[in-house]
């Protein structure tokens, strides 16, 4: 059937100057046809019968791509094009369909997101245009970032995060000797300074209850603490599960399988509703702390299995070599086994961390409002009904940026620690 297209002879290298212009013109015609009919309501092929009319762009494009499908044409760009998107008739059709779908969808999307959208203003009424109403986000941004934290005290959150960013950046640039101390400070001291600063209650700072915390800053606080704790706990569980002592092994297995077996949402309910009943009388543990503990233990179980995968991938010879040099259990694991195992499972660890960050919105069910929770609250405000789409798109973009940067960082680490070959 395709051979009937070769009325001008088979497309070949000798007749490049004949086929390429014809092919590209037909291809361009197909695209112009789609653009005109989708956005200008002009149909240049209206003379044709209706059933054929609909398929004309595909037909034009198909014939066009067939004419430019010339192997070893000598033109680098053309060869590359043919190899990647036009290697046979099926791929040509897929290419055409994808191009048409993009042409039909991207401009309206951009219109809604940017061109027809309202950015400046203070009230719902100023959203007069057809596109998205970003004024909604604009007005609520403070709440989306800081939750119900008192406005006058917001500098405390800002200061904490600025210090965090400053420390992280400086850790990248200072010499290794100082870097060590900065990292230790970051991991073991700073989190508690920051939490003290944000919660207040001492040094003349006003006490801010955790129920007032919220928004993106809460997302970060929960994620950072959970990440910090779930990693070492997961590591111990992974080692425990491989321990030769039955008590340690079975309690690790029990712990891991228990936490992996229950949904996070029930864990959160348990932490917020049931746990206070089990605490001894008179002791009080903040709801946020309980939630962080719950998320930490939950993710630690997953982390344990990821790390165990890495431990199992190591050949036995590495253990033998470590032992034969006189290293005990901990030295062998810290110096030889874990560095290699963790390196192997960087993608898995990143995966678990990403899942953790994206699990944080679930704390909504126990009444803590991080970014998504605040959007939920904002969109149900009587003055701002009907802007759920904008809110969720905003949340999606923010989460995507966080997760994508984590993913890139994990890829960077993978390359950095790659020592084989």
């Amino acid at each position: 059937m395709i051979k009937t297209l070769n009325i001008l002879g088979k497309p070949s290298r000798n007749k490049l100057s004949l086929f390429v212009p014809i092919g590209f013109s037909l291809f361009a015609l197909a695209i112009i046809d789609v653009i005109l009919s989708s956005f200008f309501e002009i149909n240049i092929t209206s003379i044709l019968p209706r059933w054929l009319n609909f398929f004309t762009p595909i037909l034009f494009g198909f014939v066009g791509l067939h004419y430019i499908r010339i192997e070893f044409s000598g033109n680098r760009i053309l060869d590359k094009l043919n190899k990647n998107i036009n290697s046979n008739w099926f791929n040509a059709i897929l290419t055409l369909i994808i191009i048409f779908v993009l042409i039909k969808n991207i401009p309206p999307l951009l219109n809604w997101l940017l061109i027809d959208a309202d950015f400046v203003g203070t009230s719902k009424e100023e959203c007069s245009r057809e596109g998205a109403c970003w004024i909604f986000i604009n007005v609520w941004i403070k709440r989306l970032m800081y939750g119900l934290y008192p406005n006058a005290e917001i500098w405390r959150i800002n200061l904490s995060f600025l210090m965090l960013i400053g420390l992280v950046i400086s850790a990248f640039f200072v010499p290794i000797k100082i870097k060590k101390y900065i990292i230790i400070f970051l991991l073991f001291v700073f989190p508690f300074i920051a939490i003290n600063l944000i919660s207040g209650g001492n040094f003349g700072l006003e006490w801010v209850e955790t129920t007032a915390w919220g928004g993106l800053s809460l997302t970060f606080i929960i994620s950072i603490f959970a990440l910090l704790f779930c990693f070492p706990i997961g590591m111990f569980l992974a080692l425990g599960r491989r321990s030769s002592a039955p008590v340690i092994r079975y309690s690790s297995i029990g712990f891991i399988e228990f936490w992996r077996g229950v949904p996070l949402i029930t864990v959160l309910f348990m932490a917020s509703v049931m746990m206070p009943m089990f605490l001894p009388d008179g002791t009080y543990m903040d709801k946020l702390v309980r939630v962080i503990i719950a998320i930490t233990l939950f993710e630690a179980a997953y982390m344990a299995e990821v790390i165990r995968g890495g431990l199992q991938a190591l050949p036995r010879g590495q253990y033998d070599a470590g032992k034969s040099l006189g290293m005990g259990y901990w030295r062998m694991h810290l110096l030889v086994i874990l560095p290699q195992a963790l390196k192997l499972v960087i993608p898995g660890i990143a995966n678990t961390f990403l899942a953790l960050v994206k699990d944080t919105p679930l704390i909504l069910v126990v009444g803590l409002l991080e970014l998504v929770g605040m959007i939920d609250m904002a969109k149900s405000n009587p003055d701002w009904l009907g802007f759920a789409t904008e809110g969720y798109i905003f949340a999606g973009i923010v989460f995507w940026i966080i997760c994508y940067s984590m993913s890139r960082y994990s890829q960077f680490l993978e390359r950095k620690y790659k020592t084989d070959r």
Binding site: P315, G317, A321, S324, L325, Q340, T419, D420
Partner: protein, 244 residues
Amino acid sequence: MSDQIIQMENVNKWFDDFQVLKDINLEVRQKQKIVVCGPSGSGKSTLIRCINRLEEHQKGKIVVDGIELSENTKNIEQVRAEVGMVFQQFNLFPHLSILDNCALAPIWVKKIPKKLAEEQALKELEKVQILDQAKKFPGQLSGGQQQRAAIARALCMEPKIMLFDEPTSALDPEMIKEVLDAMVNLAKAGMTMIVVTHEMGFAKEVADEVIFMDEGMIVEKAATKEFFANPKSDRTKLFLSQIL
């Protein structure tokens, strides 16, 4: 005798139901070089892995340099620090440079200052002639170079005894010689060595005694010349006729 460094008395070991070592009796004197040979599965690797307790024996007694091997982890670690081991698959640590491979255990187990440990590592690397590879990672070295690095790594702990578990079996024929040369030099320097190998040339050149094992038992144990010139058991004769 006072210069005995390893004593094995009636050592028995089972892997589940399968008995890998049957009533092994062996005495090694200081500076003695012993080559262990035998068909695969005869228990020779297990034998030397028992000496630094990479494998546990279930019955009998093993004393290394006056320390009896038992459940006591302190003893085990002490013995391991005094007994160097070289493996068939090199088992270098791939995440560390050759220099760090060598200096790691001295720094963390023997608590030698980093600078001293590295100096010593460089010295040992020079002895096995791969000083120029010190900054590279194991994956960047040839098999022969890796095995020599593994020898240097074991020597950095200044062991009293060196165990070799088929050190040349995973190497290309061309690289066997460079590893054997390093081992011969070590033997000449007076190290106590137990070597599991199929390299009979090496055995003839270096060994004081050769042990032939089959089915978990020491079938024959004799001075090197005697062993090759005048083997007593039929099993040994058969083995030698096939391997030589």
